[in-house]
């Protein structure tokens, strides 16, 4: 088949070429912007990772250089000196427990607020949501007093209850939004089929709110994992303390063993990264689903 030679008028040719150039320039610009933000986001973690293999002297003299000898011992020191293994296990246990209980409670609260009409509904919702605005440090004395009076000081359950409670406002806020979006007809059909209150909650509403629950659970898990103040306030022994206290183990009154601390930080961020990798689809869809609503 012979090629057809289409001759474009000169003016049109120039316009196509200009568009081509413009598209290339825009593409390059797009990549520059993307690369800038990628480096901006990745650089601190990369710096932290490299610094965790240096000596303190190297870190101070050449903060941006590579280590002369890679100090893998920093990780051993981090694990040994601060009992990081036990603290890590405590963090896993406390964060998972507090997240499970929090999400169960937030789901129940949200179900009632989102799906039923009753007097004072909005006031109850505002009361729950207002908790988001209260700075956690302001609650140190009351939480300490309650936990101490209940005999839960330096016990896993003490921290779990507090973490569950402090996460309720955010979780309720997120989950309620998702439950509001479930069509009423679905629930009505379930009622016609003979579904009771609990069946509707566990079999219809909870599965349909999965994205919201996972989003809230991720936030809650990260809050528990990164929390420091209450872990410090409500515990006194290694058998209960969490990994955030382990990180601070290398900071004392007058000096800091930065490299061991950085090694401990790298160890501590691993679960957050895994958590995100496992649930990234749900998290992203959870975060963006609200954005396209009219």
């Amino acid at each position: 088949m012979a090629a057809i030679d289409i001759k474009l008028p000169n003016e049109k040719k120039t316009s196509v070429e200009t568009n081509k150039h413009l598209s290339v320039i825009l593409n390059v610009l797009k990549w520059i912007v993307l690369m800038f933000f990628a480096i901006y986001a990745i650089f601190p973690i990369l710096w932290l990772l490299i610094s965790s293999f240096k000596t303190n002297a190297e870190l101070m003299s050449e903060p941006f250089g590579l280590p002369a000898v890679w100090q893998f011992g920093n990780y051993l020191n981090a694990l040994k000196a601060s009992n990081l293994g036990i603290l890590f296990a405590n963090s896993v246990f406390i964060s998972i427990a507090a997240t499970c209980i929090n999400i169960m409670l937030a789901g129940m609260i949200s179900y009632c607020i989102a799906r039923f009409t009753f007097k004072g509904k909005e006031i109850i919702f505002v009361m729950f949501s207002a908790g988001i605005l209260v700075p956690l440090n302001a609650l140190m004395v009351p939480y300490f007093t309650i936990v101490n009076k209940l005999g839960l000081y330096d016990k896993h359950i003490g921290l779990i209850i507090v973490y569950t409670a402090i996460g309720i406002p955010v979780s309720t806020f997120i989950v309620r939004g998702f439950m509001n979006g479930i069509p009423r007809e679905v629930e009505e059909a379930a009622i016609i089929d003979g579904c009771g209150f609990f069946k509707r909650f566990f079999m219809i509403i909870l599965p349909l709110s999965k994205t919201g629950l996972v989003t809230a659970a991720t936030f809650q898990f990260l809050t528990c994992w990164n929390e420091f103040v209450y872990s410090m306030l409500l515990t006194s022994s290694t058998k209960v303390r969490t990994i955030q206290l382990g990180i601070r183990y290398f900071t004392n009154q007058f000096s800091t063993d930065f490299v061991s601390m950085y090694a401990a930080i790298i160890v501590s961020i691993i679960p957050s990264v895994i958590c995100y990798m496992l649930f990234q689809e749900q998290i992203i869809s959870g975060l963006t689903s609200g954005a396209v609503k009219g």
Binding site: A57, M60, I96, C100, P207, S236, F258
Partner: protein, 447 residues
């Protein structure tokens, strides 16, 4: 089908939560009848053991002297030996709190919540007054006999830790804060000793700057520690050791701010916003010639400094300000750590607490602690031939000083201390004049 899967998932989540909650709650659930019966039938030996354990007094001691702290090893040894000596009667249980800011926050919350730790430490800034006023601290007055008093430096117990006639805190660790300088770097620009006046010091700084060295380290991040020390030296040199008693209206504060602003012309480019690690890093790497800090830093010259740094470090009193009310050789310093204890209902426990505090303040133990850490204490230990060289010089210079004045952080109200780093940043960046700098501090004070 999907419904079934969802149901299964929901049920498994619920079951897992149930197991988790019951496991956790099980740990603190009351004992069942069966458990109580089996306990009652336990051998008498166990009962006797329990009785014995009941008699043992447990002292809770949250402390920062753990982990990588220079005093950690000796403190740990002292506690172990105290517990061994008092086996069956007293047991000191340590709560490790290496992070100092967290420690301050926790002890403050504990005291406010009415649950002060049995023994803890506090410094001379902010919190101590809250503790004194709380009414939750033990009064040591009945226990301060001549024998115990005699182990402390002359007059210390009469003026430190006393509130409304009660001895509520035992001054323990001392902070004296000289100028630390790198003699090798000073020699490079023709100086064998540290200048005596600020005019001479700035002349030397010009030479150091010309030699491409950082003349003196500064910082405005965190609590602006090293710069706060410089400002304290300058303000007491201009206004005299009693300058704080006259308040921020004293012109010395503005004059000192002018000198301080000049100091930032002779420091590193990363000083504004820098935390404590930055000035320390410059000095430890021989990039900066002059540094200001306390005796606890001595160990770091050997541990973290470049090779040979320790041998090059010398100390001197800060320069004096010509025409100022201060004197040559004047030092700044403060109580770095007070030992305080919670008021006890049980007399036996009160005595146990005092026994442990006496143990910690025993001159032999303090000497051991001082030697190991480089820190100075209010307990008489004396200077011997094996006293560390820099520490020895600190003791001698501070003993010979015409006065040891409080530093700014210890002398001013907490609100002013909190504002200081921001105000100093503004001064260093030229956003505030020295007059405006002091106005910022005054505004914080009147809030």
């Amino acid at each position: 089908m999907k419904m079934k899967v969802s149901l299964k998932k929901s049920l498994s989540v619920l079951a897992a939560s149930g197991v988790l909650v019951s496991t956790v709650l099980g740990g603190c659930a009351p004992k069942t009848e069966n458990e109580a019966v089996s306990e009652a039938a336990a051998p008498k030996k166990e009962e006797a053991k329990k009785e014995e354990a009941k008699k043992e007094i447990t002292i809770n001691f949250p402390t920062i002297w753990v982990g990588t702290d220079s005093k950690a090893n000796v403190i740990s040894q002292l506690i172990t030996s105290f517990n061994e000596e008092n086996k069956g009667s007293i047991k000191v249980v340590v709560e490790e709190m290496p992070d100092y800011q967290a420690y301050r926050e926790k002890t403050k919350t504990n005291v406010i919540a009415g649950n002060a730790p049995d023994i803890f430490t506090t410094d001379n800034a902010g919190n101590t007054e809250i503790f004194y006023k709380s009414g939750k601290l033990m009064d040591f007055t009945p226990y301060l006999d001549d024998a115990w008093k005699g182990t402390f430096l002359e007059g210390t117990l009469d003026k430190e830790g006393v509130y409304e006639g009660q001895h509520l805190a035992i001054p323990y660790e001392m902070a004296v804060l000289p100028v630390m300088y790198n003699a090798k770097l000073l020699k490079q620009v023709g100086y064998d000793e540290f200048p005596k006046t600020y005019t001479e010091m700035f002349e030397m700084f010009d030479k150091l700057k010309a030699a491409d060295l950082i003349p003196a380290t500064q910082m405005t991040g965190e609590n602006a520690w090293t710069s706060m020390l410089w400002y304290s030296q300058i303000v007491t040199s201009i206004g005299g050791p009693d300058v704080y008693s006259r308040g921020l209206d004293d012109p010395a504060f503005v004059e000192a701010a002018k000198v301080m602003q000049k100091m930032f012309d002779y420091t590193s480019s990363d000083a504004v916003g820098a935390g404590a690690a930055v000035p320390a890093g410059h000095f430890l790497n021989e990039k900066a010639a002059v540094f200001m800090n306390g005796p606890w830093f001595i160990g770091r010259f050997k541990k973290d400094g470049v090779e040979g740094l320790y041998d090059n470090v010398q100390i001197a009193p800060a320069p004096y300000f010509e025409g100022g009310k201060g004197q040559a050789g004047g030092y700044i310093g403060t109580v770095q750590a007070y030992l305080v204890a919670a008021k006890q209902e049980d007399k036996a426990k009160e005595e146990a607490v005092v026994k442990f505090i006496k143990y910690l303040t025993d001159p032999a133990h303090v000497a051991q602690l001082s030697k190991e850490s480089g820190a100075l204490f209010y307990v008489k230990t004396g200077v011997s031939d094996d006293t560390e060289r820099i520490q020895k010089a600190m003791i001698e210079q501070s003993n010979a000083a015409p006065y040891v004045a409080n530093h700014f952080q210890a002398a001013m109200p907490q609100k002013v201390v909190t504002e200081f780093p921001q105000a100093l940043s503004s001064l260093a960046l030229g956003e505030s004049t020295p007059e405006e700098f002091v106005e910022l501090l005054k505004a914080a004070e009147s809030k």
